[in-house]
Symmetry: C2
Subunit: 270 residues, 2 copies
């Protein structure tokens, strides 16, 4: 593999995944990953453009940012690209009234959306909300529609909590796709539209940007397909096998965000 200087040359903007990179979530909120609070601060002071790019859909952006600030991170709502606001815009543009299969904590993001007499299903990580009854209700909505629409906030396979691996929304998206025969539209990583909206927010071109994430497919593969570079951190949901993934090869593997930032501050354009 080329030297870091070559691999990071010309980087002007950094997209940061949040869960598994900044912190690990758990039932009581979450814990910062060692060195990450300081790494975010150093990155923001460096002159590189920084944008947080998350598929978080268990919490509203407001809640997420409050939690991260409590953990010591320098972050504000305006710096975050997340799928719920993007979904609300799509629903309004297309006149869609969703059945919401989502976490209660994120319901407030959809306050302005008409959910009467649903003509589509919106699915997001719902934890215990993925009861048989709720998933079946969503399925029945799809089966009753002449032109069924299924929107999924991300398509992650799983994420990591301190208690262990947790099924992510993608598993339930696949369940609904299979049962109903409807192909989901994914809002969030790895959708190119989603990465592009994060890049637009910081005015950086894809070839000048690098994604840092713990998900080899959703973060690394998704960003690379948009023309960005991508590093995988060995925190969060990282598993050793990821470094030999059959389809996706990161531009670099680092132990954690702190190491990624060390390398960026040394080699990237500022």
């Amino acid at each position: 593999m080329a030297a870091w200087g070559e691999r990071l040359a010309g980087v002007r903007g950094v997209l940061l995944d949040i869960s598994g990179v900044l912190y690990d979530s758990d039932a009581s909120g979450g814990v910062a990953i060692a060195g990450s609070v300081d790494a975010v601060a150093r990155l923001k002071q460096s002159g590189l453009k920084v944008r947080f790019c998350t598929n978080e859909s268990q919490k509203s952006v407001g809640e997420l940012v409050r939690l991260l600030r409590q953990l010591g991170f320098d972050i504000s709502e305006g710096e975050v690209t997340s799928p719920a606001p993007a979904t609300c815009q799509i629903l309004k543009e297309r006149g869609l009234r969703p059945y919401l299969l989502i976490h209660d904590s994120v319901r407030s993001e959809f306050d302005q959306i008409d959910t009467s007499n649903p003509n589509c299903v919106v699915i997001a990580e719902a934890g215990e909300g993925f009861s048989y009854q709720n998933v079946n209700d969503a399925f029945r909505v799809l089966m009753k529609l002449e032109n069924p629409v299924l929107i999924s906030l991300g398509n992650g396979r799983y994420y990591k909590e301190t208690s262990g691996l947790m099924l992510d929304v993608g598993a339930y998206m696949k369940a609904l796709e299979y049962a109903s025969g409807v192909k989901a539209e994914v809002v969030g990583k790895p959708s190119p539209e989603f990465f592009k909206s994060a890049l637009r927010a910081i005015g950086v071109e894809a070839h000048q940007a690098i994604m840092i994430g713990d998900d080899i497919v959703g973060d690394v593969g998704g960003a690379q397909r948009c023309g960005m570079r991508a590093l995988q951190v060995r925190t969060g949901k990282f598993r050793p096998g990821d470094e030999h993934h059959p389809d996706v090869k990161a531009d670099g593997y680092v132990d954690n965000l702190a190491e990624a930032v060390d390398l960026l501050l040394q080699h990237a354009d500022k």
Copy 2:
């Protein structure tokens, strides 16, 4: 389409799906589909070989047969091919100790199976048992194994209860496959092995047999891929679109089992 006489020529054996063909299940047990009790009786008196071939895995075979007898059907346990006993045989042969993601009512079928320290996952229609916690537990078992094995009792998309359509095991099989990257082994229809074991039980060759079911893919398509003929009934989970399915064309569509039996008694070999 050819005349019925031609389509049914040479039929000596009949495989009957149960749910949606003989009866519709509901929370309180189920109701016989009009004309089906009499149709089964007439079929068995006709001299044609009859075998019940079901993916039922919400109830033990014993319970299912008791229920059907209460509804008036002439049926005994020895006449039923169902996936749980076939799965137990596979588990024993391969020294597999399952984590059971199954309905409580069918747990007794696995009484003789060692479930300590699981080295595989067995999934069957579990209704409310498909809680997030239970599905996640199964997922974690798969992720911990070096050679993960996932066995699914059927791969149905949905079935019909009197209250409406219900997600079937296939949806959750797909969820686990996607999240864990493990391909499931299906025991039950449409697995060719399963159809063949039903045919062996009545000593009939595939080309002399016909399947009658309500599932265009699992019953009709599966049986046809084994060299059998297959009729779809317009009861149970049948939907009008099934008659224009892109991949599967039944050898005939009939309103219900009674009509199928009328035609068989008129045209099949006896």
